[in-house]
Amino acid sequence: MKSRTNGEGLRDKVAGANPAPVTIAPMTQPATGATLLEARDLSKHFGGLRAVASISFRVRQGEIVGVIGPNGAGKTTLFALLSGFLPATSGEVLFEDAPILGLRPDTLCHLGMARTFQVVRPFPEMTVFENVKAAAVFGKQGRRSNQEILSDVEEVLRATGLAPLAGQHPPSLSLPQRKRLEVARALATRPKLLLLDEVLAGLNPKEIQEALPFIRSLNEKHRVTILMIEHNLRAIMGVCQRILVLNFGQLIFDGAPSDAVEDARVIEAYLGGQQHA
Amino acid sequence: MISATSVVQSLLSGMAEGVNYSLYCLGLAFVFGIVRIINLAHGEFLVLGGYIAYWLLVKWGVNPLLALPLAAAMAGVAAFVSYRVFLQRIRTSSELNTLILTFGLGIFLANLYLQLWTADIRNIGVDWMEQPLSFFGIYVSVGEILTILISLAVVFGLYFFLTRSRTGMAIRVTAIDRDAAALAGINVERVDLVAFTIGGLLAGVGGPLLGMLAHISPGAGLHITVKAFILTVLAGVGSIPGLLVAGMILGVGEALTVTFINASYRELFGFALFIAILVIRPSGLFGRRL
């Protein structure tokens, strides 16, 4: 595995740290538009409840795809299925054309898929540095020198603006900082596909404004494909090239964000959802 | 070689033993399910009930109907005091700490009994309870029937208390979702105290029965605690009627192991079953919430 130096420091605008050369994910393939992730008739039932009902979609390399839907629409369940945290009831998931259902989360991570959690889950007894280091060490298989790992960790910390906080323990961080740690940890595994579960939730508008270019930069400069769940519609419109809309476990829309707001079913899902709420 | 009557008799004895097992472990399971404390001093509370009953029944000839509630009440008081003095102060720290605390409490109590009442083994013998009755060649004693009735009454009493009474509801809600309960205006701290005290009371009922069916000694508590553990896991945390079934499975399984295989494998049966259930079905046989 070779890492490539990237001269630009776009994420530094988010982090507000010194511009510096950054090494993050390897780019094994350029964003050719080939399918990176594909779900076919993916379902998950909890007893009688169909949390995810026969969903099919594709994510192409280099895309930023948003997943939206009312509460309880099955977004987080979908993520759990894709990332191997929950076994699916039926269906198929292909990652780089290979079936991945039934693989453990750590194997998926080694293949190049990383995720963040909606509710941040840092390792509380480890420092920020150790949190990220663990991801750098175990995110990819194969032995790497300590030197390589450490430089990776430092790059990710700088990129996410966590470098000054490296020695702190997560409980002492603010929420935006912890969210950044969550992303930093996922990033340190050098993923091809990043599943972001509401990384913007709980941030104030200013913080969101800072975070969006960062997400875009991950995609543009490092060609990390991103699938992100988001509640903040404005944010998702601004950053995603395509969105998936879920309602009651079903995929009701798959297309450009601008088309979604016109779609009758999407409007009904959001308004209807509000009426019942 | 083994007659059919003996098999039936053995089966029945296992069921009776099982019902009593359920009673012995009720307090521990209850406290574990509600307050999330594994009370390693459970057996010692039970033994306390046993000693109180021994003194009242055997030494002072008090009526069993009065002695039993008194014994239970004393164990309840002991639990109440233990909670107020110690446990309450560390509710926020780790589960492990409560484990060590109750373990220490158990050692303290067992040795206190040793100092107070010597190492003598005590038997609560009430003559009329020991009389055997015979039905179609199957024998039971008055005391056995009585203890089974008491056990069932306590188990179902607790069940109805939890499902019907206001306090019971509060306890259940707290067990299911502490934060929600607190938001709903339930004083969860008080629920913990009440639940722990009830756990002591329940143990206190078991003590006299243990003294009647077997015997009590200062160190008898630990064995009971371990058995209670097994049953709680077997039944699934939080399932009170499940305890009865689990108790019976254990009691009958042990009895039939002796009848058909060998007495040396009796305990092995219990632990093998325990591990098997844990691995196959970690939530226990009836692992639903209350």
Binding site: - | Q9, S10, G14, N111, A119, R122, A214, H215, H223
Partner: protein, 396 residues
Amino acid sequence: MKAKTIVALFVVFAVAAWSPGAWAQGPIKLGVQAPQTGALAKHGQEQVKGIRLAVDEFQKKHNVQVDLKVYDDESDAQKAAASIEKLAGVDKVHAVVGGYGSHLVGPASEAAERYDTPYFTTGAVDRKLSAKKLKNFFRLNHMPGYAAAQSGAIKEALGAKKVGILYNSLSATAEIAQEVKDQLTAKGVEVPVFEKFEKGTTNFKPLLLKVKDAGCDALLVEGYFPDYVGTIKDAKILNLPVKAYVGAWGIGTPEFVRELGPMSEYVYGTSIWEMGTAPKEAKEEEAAMVAAYKEKFKEEPSYIAMLGYLSGKYMLEAILKGGKASGSYSPEKTREALRSLDVMSPMGRIAFDEKGDPKYFTAALFQTQKGAQVVIFPTDRKMGEVVYPAVPWGAK
């Protein structure tokens, strides 16, 4: 005058030189290692009571001060050995008595051997203990004596044809069960049921039903107090049709009678000593010990207390005798004194073989009749007639 004075002075000096020689040894230091807490606490405590009584009497009788050190081994093997380290290594006691449970006495006697300190136990019957041929190891009772009393009585006094043996899985009971079974089988008595149960068993019915279905005449329970309580209670409920109930040790004691009341009646048990079983020669000693014990502790002595008493007594006598002979309390002299011991005691004739085992030890088999222990076997120690068939749960 002068000569007289000189002679007198000489005598005084001689006395001073010799007798303070004995005095100069100072008090006898006797160590006790016994469980005071934990599973065996009960037995250990009784044992210590007996030893304390022996110390009292010895001090009065010989006017020699005895420093008694009692250490609790907490019913734990490591602590048992450590107690000996403390007694022999730190307190430098002249000898150790006590010890209960073969698994505690094993490591303890090993430790005593390391310190070359005589070790005299009354609570460990395992054969392997003396098989090591430790030169400092002595005991008052051992397993074959118990087994012989049981098998002999079952065959000869009761004439049972089929015997069911249930035994506690603990070391001593497991060993005696095996021994009794072998002896019975050799005598032509059938043993169709031979089963081991765990300590803490409370439901004995399935086991007893096996005894019932096998048609046994006698039920032999090699266990401890709780096991007797459990089996007798369950046998009563099942109305178990056997003709005799025999327990190993610790049955028929005053505590047993107190706790079980009428259900203690007719049980058989092996005993080393019960009130009134002393041979003629030792009747007086027995009565004196019992009276003193009651006076001191306000309760009847059990056989464990008696054993403790005797071990304390003979050990102290041996230390003193050895010390008198040589001028110092040396382990070697104490051992010699013990090995030369041959007396009639309340528990029969006492002398040791080269392994430290009691040469003449045989237990007696008694039956509890009206709350008292009536020895029925061996015939030469017989105190009364056996009531057979009779079981405790048949008594009213």
